[in-house]
Each structure stands twice: as C-alpha cells, then as structure tokens.
C-alpha cells in the first residue's frame, strides 16, 4: 500500500513538471488603477495567447516550469514584457499609456516656494553648482567669497568682514541658515565665514525689498540652505595645503532618513611656510598659525510626504597667535615695539524644526527652535624697548622749551609693556513658527511669529601706555581701563503677515506684507540692581510689484520689471554695550530704520545670458551711536538721531552653467552720506565716525566691479579667474608729522612723534585690484562613481606687485613715515593653494 501511494505521488509530481501549470494574471492601468479588459497576453516560446476579461483577469497556461517571459499588449498602451519566475502562480501587470521618447530633459525640479526663487528687485539665488567657481576658488572654500562678488555688495577689502550691502552698515546684514538666524557666522573676526560650500545646497542673497517673513535685517538678508541628506551614501574628502576635510552622508535605515556629518581642519602653516621670506620681511612671526576647526551635522527624517523633521548642528573654533616686530631694527639703536597677540574664538549652534503639509495641500507649517553660543578671548601685549639717540632736530627744538633744569643726554631708553585682554560669552535661544496658506491658486497668505532671547557676559581691561597730561606736563605712562561686567539679556520678537497675489499668473505679481519687530533689554548692575529698557515696536510694511509684459520672442526669452518699497529695522549691535548709567528712559530710544525703494529690470537672452539692472534709494534714520564726551569721567552718552541716505545702481550680466564658458560681470555704484548731529564736544564718536558733519562712512566705495570667468576647453579641465576692481575707501587726512616730548615715569625725556588725523571728504585709499586664478583637472576613475578633482590656485596674484595703500602713518619713536595698508590683514604675498577632492 505504501509503495503504491509513493509511486502515485511521484507520478503526479513528475506530471506537473512535465506538463506545466496555470498562471493567474491581472492587468490594470498603472496610472489610474483600473482593470483593463481585452489585453492580449502572449507567451512567445509556446505561442500561447490569453485575453483579459472585464475585471482584467485571465489564466495563461504555460508548459514549462522554468522562468518564462510574457508580453502584455494593448492598443494605446505601451507593451510590457514580464518575467515569471518558476515559483510564481499569480501576477499583476500594470500598463502605462504609450510613451514618446523624451526630448529636452528637465534637470531642475520644483522646489518649495520662497526657498530658491530669485526675483528682480528682491533677491539673487546661487545654486550649489554655480558656487563652485567663486566659493571654492581660494585657499579656503567659503560661501562668503561668492556673496562678496554679487551686485549690491560693496567690496570689503582683503580679510575684511565689513562688507556693506547697498550702503548699509555691515552689521545690518542678517544671516540665516535653514531659517535659523546665525548671529556669529564668522571666523577670524570676519576674514571667513562658517559656511562651507560643500554642505550648502543654495544661497539666496536679498538686497532689495525682501518679504516681511524675513528679518530682523536692515540692509540685506543672506539665506543659506544646507543640503538634505536624502539621496544615498556620499563621501567627500578634501585635502589641500591649508585644509583637510571629510564629509559623509548616509541614509539611516532607509531613504526616508538621512544624516550628514563632517569636519574641516584649516591651518595656514604650509602656505605661510611657502611665503616665509615675505612674511619675515614684514617682521611677522606666527607662534600659532591662523587655524579654523569646524564640525557640522544634519539629521533629517521624512517618514511620510507631509512631514519632515531635521536637526542641524555646528561647532567651530578659530584663532591666531603672532609676534610682530619691525624688521631691520635692533634695541641698541632703536626703540623697538614688539607686539604679541593671541585671539581665540569658539562658536556653535544647534537647531531643530519640523515641517508639515496639512491634508488638502493648502496649509504648510514650519516650527523651528535652536540655541547658539559664541565665546571670544583676545589678549595681547606690546613691549616697547630700546635705546635711541636724540636727533639734532629734537635737541634744537628742546633747547627752545622752558623745561627748567633739564639737560639732554645723547640718548634715551625705554622699557615698558602694555597689555590688554577682553572676553565675551554670548548665548542665544530662538524660536519661530511660520505658516503658508494657499487660499486660491493665485493667492498665498503667510503668517508667523518668533523671537530671539540673548544673554551676554562681557569683560575686559588692560594697562596701555600712552601720552597724557599730569600737572600740565606731558607724561608717557600706563592708563588702566576695565570694562565693567554687567549681565545683560535682550529679547527680540517679531510677527508678520504677507500676501502674494498672482494677479495675472506669470505676468503680474504683487507681494504685500507687514512685519513688526520689538526689542527689550534687561540688565543687572554689578551691585545686583536689575533694570530694563523698553522700546516701541517698529512696524515694517513691504510692497513689491513684478511685471512680465512680453512673451518669449526672437530677441529675448523673458523680461521682468519690478518696483518695491519697504521699511526695515534692526536693533543696533552696540545695544549689548548699554548700561544703566546711560540713563535712558523706557520708550525714548527709537530703533534704527531704513526706508528703501528699489526698481529693476531683468532680461533673459538666448544662450542663457541674463542681464539685470537695479536702482535704489535708501533713507536711514534713528541711527544709534555713542560718544565719550570730555570731562565726563569717561562715561558714554548714547544717541539715536543719526540719519543719512544711500543711492546707487547695480548692473550684472551672467551666464550660468555652460559646458564651455560661463561667468558673470557685475558693477555697483553706491553713494552714501551719513550725519550724526549730536557732538557732545567731540569730533568723532566711539566708533570713530565723524559727528556734526556729513560724512562718507568708513566702508564706503563708489565703484565695485567683479568679473568671474570659468572656461572649460575640455571636459576635464577648468580655468577659473576672478578679478575685482574697487575704488578706495574714505581716508582720514593726516597732518604733517609732529615732534613732541614727554616725561616717562622715571623723569626721562622722550622724543616722540605723532600725526593728527581729521576727516576728509575727498581723500581715498588706493584702488583695490585682487585677482584670483585657479586651474582644475577633474575625472572619474574609469567605470566607477569616484570623482577626483585636482586643483592649483593662487589668491591675490598681484600682491607682490601692488597692494593698495591707506593713510600715511608714523612711527611714534622714530618719526618714520610709511603708508598703511588698506587690507584688514596683509602679508604682502599671494596665497597659494594646491589640493584635491575625492568624492562619490
């Protein structure tokens, strides 16, 4: 019996192998998910055919138990071939409508509104690929290198943070990273920013009438959008003379969650070694070469299409330590000033937020909160030491002075040391909530609110040798100062609403909004007495019109006109220096404002050439400044009655992302005049700006031009050149060098020199002509996804031949005159960079 059953089973099994099986197949429309009746299914090998019924079902009998192919064919639909594995008995096949070979492939996808949209009269967007030439051309890759070449940005000078946007104070610019206001975006006091272009997806620079959604900002807004780690594993390694960098991006669990984490170490050891002879010539000795250490991370989760959560973090440190002494001088015959200086900064922030699209796709919400910390310590000392013979001229001069009982020896000696140290720790916490509501397909309404709470500790002091008067006689002696430590906190809050009307879609747009900013200061004196200072909220209306009246034609593709007006405000940075002793009452201090009008025209020509022209007028008022009146026991007096105007125009021609040649040419003209009415018996205020007269601010330049060219003669070779030409900044008028005498603490007579400086409306520093050059070789390792770039470049190629000079300066002890340098920091040599990047 058992044997018979076994035999029967084996036979049945064999028969099934030999004689095939039935496959149940269901065919449906892939796009609208409905069953398809009458679909022809063919198994080519056997020639068997079956047709689907009204439910899209059919049974196809196949002979083989191997893997086979079945073709589904239906009129008006793309035929589809499907492999059926041996173990499959049921199958669903989806068909799509007949396809047409794609022509122009669209590379740019639709992005969230407001994030990357560029508008004439409002903003300029620079995408990641476009940033490569400007942000990555120097020895230090920095997004600010791109910003500094944009129209509307007045050339700041080498290593200078003080770039002005259309005549506004440098501090009037606000920087935002993924919606989070970054209050300290700089390294080396402004020489470079913290924004590494390798983690930046796009940059939006707004110098016009930007939306009420954004602020507080007065002259401009810079929005940095970081990359979203949602497209797989990527690794980048950068190694150059100055920098070692690693950036890793990886999904976590699946593509719905991703993380990038990276770090960058920068040190000028090697470049400074290469230009050591030039550095030595200037008497500089870096005991700690300028360095920057940065770390970043971002974690991103999008579990469903309607919800996204992220957390961003950054930590950075930078510093420098150096000794400077004039070359070619010895203490035996000169009074030598040796400066020893060190500066260390630490900063970091973390922010988190989530974005939600509510069902119905009409409402979008974004919540954000974060914390930022910045600490800075600077200290230095100046050693003045040596012996110097009195000059004949000084002896003649001294003989005429009624200084009784003093006979000059042949020489005098000096040996004293000044020192100073300052430090601050600045914390801030911020949060905001934004909502965009699509009321109709032509009207978008936005509303939001938020605030930043900042608390600072600042202290400092020192002992500095300088010339003062004692009993009517000039004395060279130490002057001790200390900055009183008062804990302070500032709460800045805002609310806004904004309407975006597409009156005639793609032809006529109106944007109108209202923003209100408020600031309140809270402090505690060293005696423990608490105080606060309240100001009135500032209403800031904004209005923009955009008109694109012409259709694409043979001459140009698009032409857009814009006109906008808006009021902007921002609490002055000096507010942290406010003390109870200033004596201000609540609601008596207005916050500085700027009324701005901008008009523009933008035209897109064939070959992707864009030409833009914008003109503007800004009226600045309620500007804050501080004086230190004489005979006031060193107390500071503050005012908010400063005012002025800036006007000018920006022109630009650009061509983006061509396989062969692209770049941009921009020119900005800017005229700025400011006035600080309250003099308090002074000629200059605490910031060294003139009072009582109209003046050009220290950062003003009439003309700034930038030319950037990227040439790609082959697909593996790129030459990038960047040339800037900028007219000079205001230069104080220096008097003739004056010789004078003073006692030192031991009663010795010192031969000293000085110049007096007065404001000049006409004197300017020399023009600046920095020229950067970079050549890059790039290739893929064959048959792989590993991309390699090898580059060599030089920044400020003309430095050995030409370096713009500023006002004449004089050595206090020798009377030797020399022209100061216009740059914030200058070693008189071009900065080379060689490196490579590997990524996949």
């Amino acid at each position: 019996m058992k044997k018979s059953v076994s035999v029967i089973l084996f036979i049945l099994l064999s028969l099934s192998v030999v004689f095939g099986k039935d496959i149940s197949i269901n065919v449906f429309d892939r796009d609208i998910d409905i069953p398809l009746e009458g679909v022809k299914l063919i198994e080519p090998k056997s020639g068997r055919i079956a047709y689907t019924d009204q439910n899209g079902d059919t049974i196809l009998q196949i002979d083989s138990n191997e893997q086979i192919m079945v073709i589904a064919d239906y009129v008006g639909y793309q035929s589809r071939k499907v492999i059926i594995a041996p173990d499959v008995n049921t199958l669903k096949i989806g068909l799509s409508m007949e396809f047409v070979l794609e022509g122009k492939e669209l590379i740019i996808e639709g992005k969230a509104p407001g994030k990357t949209d560029e508008k004439v009269g409002v903003s300029k967007v620079v995408e990641k690929n476009e940033m490569k030439s400007t942000a990555m051309s120097g020895p230090m890759q920095d997004v600010m290198s791109t910003v500094k070449t944009l129209p509307g940005v007045v050339y700041a000078g080498k290593f200078s943070p003080n770039f002005s946007v259309r005549g506004g104070e440098p501090n009037d610019l606000t920087t935002v990273l993924d919606g989070f206001v970054v209050r300290y975006p700089w390294h080396w006091g402004g020489g470079f920013s913290i924004f590494n272009p390798n983690i930046v997806d796009s940059l939006k620079f707004s110098a016009g009438i930007f939306s009420a959604k954004y602020g507080p900002a007065m002259s401009g807004l810079m929005e940095v959008n970081t990359i979203t780690p949602n497209d797989g594993v990527k690794l980048q390694v950068v190694l150059s003379m100055m920098t070692a960098e690693v950036l890793l991006q990886t999904p976590i669990v699946n593509e719905k969650s991703g993380l990038y984490i990276g770090g960058r170490l920068t040190s000028q050891d090697l470049p400074l070694l290469m230009v050591k002879p030039l550095v030595d010539q200037q008497g500089l000795n870096f005991t700690r070469s300028p360095y920057i250490y940065d770390g970043y991370f971002k974690w991103y989760i999008k579990p469903v299409d309607r919800f996204e959560w992220y957390i961003n973090g950054f930590v950075g440190a930078d510093g420098i330590s150096m000794i400077a002494s004039p070359p070619g001088q010895t203490e035996a015959t000169h009074i030598v000033t040796t400066s020893n200086f060190s500066w260390v900064n630490f900063s970091g922030f973390v922010n988190t937020g989530f974005k939600v699209i509510l069902p119905g796709d009409k409402v979008f919400m974004h919540f954000l909160g974060g914390y930022e910390y910045h600490k800075s310590d600077i200290k230095g000392n100046f050693l003045v030491k040596g012996t110097r013979k009195y000059s004949d001229k000084f002896k003649e001069y001294f003989a005429t002075l009624p200084v009784i009982g003093t006979t000059l020896p042949d020489s005098f000696q000096m040996d004293n040391s000044s020192q100073f140290g300052e430090g601050d720790a600045d914390h801030s916490a911020q949060g905001r909530f934004d909502t965009d509501v699509t009321i109709t397909d032509r009207i978008m309404f936005s509303i939001g609110l938020g605030g930043i709470y900042q608390w600072v500790n600042y202290s400092g002091g020192g002992e500095i040798y300088s010339v003062g008067f004692k009993n009517g006689l000039p004395v060279y002696e130490p002057f001790t100062y200390s900055i009183s430590k008062e804990d302070k906190s500032i709460l800045s809050s805002f609310a806004y609403m904004n309407f975006d009307f597409k009156v005639i879609p793609e032809i006529f747009d109106i944007e109108i909004g209202m923003r209100t900013d408020h600031v309140a200061l809270f402090g505690k004196t060293q005696n423990g007495e608490e105080y606060d200072l309240q100001v009135y909220p500032v209403p800031e209306p904004r209005l923009n019109f955009f008109l694109t009246p012409f259709k694409p034609n043979n001459v140009f593709e698009t032409m857009t006109f814009s006109l906008g007006v808006g009021l902007f405000s921002k609490a002055p940075a000096e507010l942290v220096a406010y003390e109870k002793s200033f004596g201000l009452e609540d609601f008596t201090m207005p916050i500085g404002k700027t009324l701005t009008v901008v008009t523009g025209i933008e035209t897109l020509f064939p070959f992707n050439i864009k030409v833009k022209a914008e003109g503007y007028f800004k009226y600045q008022f309620d500007r804050f400044y501080m004086n230190t009146p004489p005979n006031n026991n060193g107390k500071i007096v503050s005012h908010s009655d400063g005012y002025g105007y800036s006007t000018g125009f920006d022109l630009s021609i650009e061509r983006k992302m061509s396989p062969y040649l692209d770049g941009s040419l921009s020119y900005s003209y800017c005229d700025i005049r400011m006035f600080n009415p309250s003099t308090d018996g002074m000629s200059f205020n605490l910031r060294n700006d003139p009072v009582g007269i109209w003046y050009y601010p220290r950062y003003h330049r009439f003309h700034s031009m930038n030319l950037i060219l990227n040439a790609r003669p082959t697909d593996f070779f790129t030459i990038t050149s960047k040339l800037s030409i900028a007219s000079g900044k205001p230069q104080k008028e220096a008097s003739e060098t004056q010789m004078f005498w003073a006692y030192d603490q031991k009663g010795n007579i010192l031969e000293l020199y000085a110049k007096n400086y007065t404001y000049s409306d006409t004197l300017r520093t020399e023009i600046s002509i920095p020229f950067d050059l970079k050549v890059t070789f790039n290739f893929y390792i064959p048959n792989s996804k590993v991309y390699v770039e090898i580059y060599a470049g030089v920044e400020d190629l003309f430095a050995p031949l030409y370096s713009p000079k500023a006002a004449m300066e004089t050595d206090m002890f020798s009377g030797d005159d020399k022209r100061g340098t216009e740059a914030n920091f200058d070693i008189g040599a071009p900065l080379p960079s060689i490196g490579f990047t590997v990524n996949f």
Binding site: L13, G103, K104, D231, K785
Partner: protein
Amino acid sequence: MKNILYMIMICVMLSGCLSLKERYSDKKSLENINLTIMSDKSGLETVYITSSLLPSITLKGALSLDASGDTILNFNSLYTITNGWRSYTEGNLMLYGQGKIKKYDENMTIEMISKPEVIDIQSGSMRVIDTYYRNKDGAGRFKNKFDRLYETAQLLKLKDGFGQFAPSQTGLNYFFDPNRNIPEDFLTHTKRVLFPELYGINTLYKKKLLDIHYDLSLLDNTDDLIIADDLLYRKSYTDAVIGETLKEVRNSGTMLRDFNESKKLLKALYNYDYFFDTFLPQAVLQVTTKNNDYKFNNCIIIDNLKK
C-alpha cells in the same frame, strides 16, 4: 519495471539541481569575451559576461538544465556604468534571453535560443556635476537615456558608412568616408554624423557631406537655427538626417549630452545585435588559469575568448 520507473522519477526530480563545474581555457582573437562563473557558498552560480564589443556593459545570468539535460544560460540582467563630462550614469536592467551551452573537448560554445531583450529597469542613478539622481528618479532618467541611446544606435545602422559592428580598437581604418578621405573610428565618425555643427557650420555647405543622400539644395535657411546648450543646431539637418523619432532629442541638445556622458554605452548598444546574432554564437571559449582573487568561494573562471 519498478526499478526503471524509479530511475525515471529520480532523474526528473533531480532535474533542477545540477550546476556547471568544468574549466575551459582561452584562445586569441581581435575582439574578446570574458565569461566568468562565480559560485557562492551555497553553490549558487552566477555568470558574468563582458566583451570588448560591449564596452561599459556587464551581462549577468544564471545556469540551469533543460529537460534534455543541456546547460542553459539564462540572461537575467544587464549592468552598465559610464562616465563623461563630469557625470556618471549607472543602471541595472532586467533581461530575458537564453543560450544553450555546448561543450566539446576543452572548449565551450553558446548557441543562442533567444536574444536577451530588455524587460524592465531594476535600478538606475546618475550624477551631473553635483546633482544626484537616485532611487525612482534616477531609475527613470537612466531608462530614458538608455532608450534614447538605443534608438540612436539603430538610427546609425541605417546610415552609409556604418558597418555591421563597431570594432573596439580605435584608430583602425574602419570608417572610411569617401567624401572626407580620412579614416576614423566609430565614435569620432558618429559625432561627425550626429553633430556636424561641432565641426563648423560650413561643413553643411560643402558637397563633401556626411550623408551622401542629403541634397543641399533642400536646405532651408529660414528659421533653421535652434540654440540648445551652447550649440546652434540646423533643424533642416535634423529633419533630413536624424528623423522624426529623435528629432526633439537632437534639437534640444539632449542627444549631445547623452553622447558626451555615455558614448561607450552607445557603442555597446550599436554592437548589441551583432554580438548576440553573430559574434557570441561563433565564439569558442576556453578556460584560462587566472588568479583566484574573487570575493566568492569555489570560483571557476572562464575568460579571454580569443579566436
């Protein structure tokens, strides 16, 4: 009788379990094929085929036995990766096709039962400068590019001067254009045919034309130029030489971009039919002794087919 039945049943039962375990040596040829059989720990064997006629492509298949005991090579996927113009293009396509492996002495031949056809896309990704296309988007873009290149390859086969296949070695006197009297290789000649504008617009005004059937007097100069990606294309040339199917692909600049980024894949697709219709069936494979430095265990390597 019972014993015979048992034996028949056992043979049928065991029909799905046999694997290829023999070695072969190579011979010399102008073009080559590398056929590698990899076997993992579980004994699962995978066949990889590359060839100088199919640059940038790796064919993958599995071995099985048919009812008559012959070894069947089931082609199941095609992998490709190409680089060019600061980009890469990578993709995996599902194939369906079969070949019968025949062994004699120390050699092996493959008789094609059905030429591998592309069934569907499994995955794809692209990178252009710093823009990445992955997952669904990458797969879609890769498939579109693959289809365009395939159609372009079929178009070239209809043009004068293009032979049955494109040899792998460059510099050969293969394409001899009587109008130009200069020999050039497949890719150079293809670039000249598809994008004469790159060689100077005046090329079209001379009778030394690429397509000898193209009549210059038919050239319509009015509204004839179109700009795409820094190049001026002549629409009349597109209409006459390229044809309707690929007209927009060329006039939009996409065809040039595809060529620059994936020219090796274009060449492989041009040779695809010849490879399976003529070359592979005529090839005689022999095993060579090679370094066993593969990741999998128990490898049996057959490579370097040389005629």
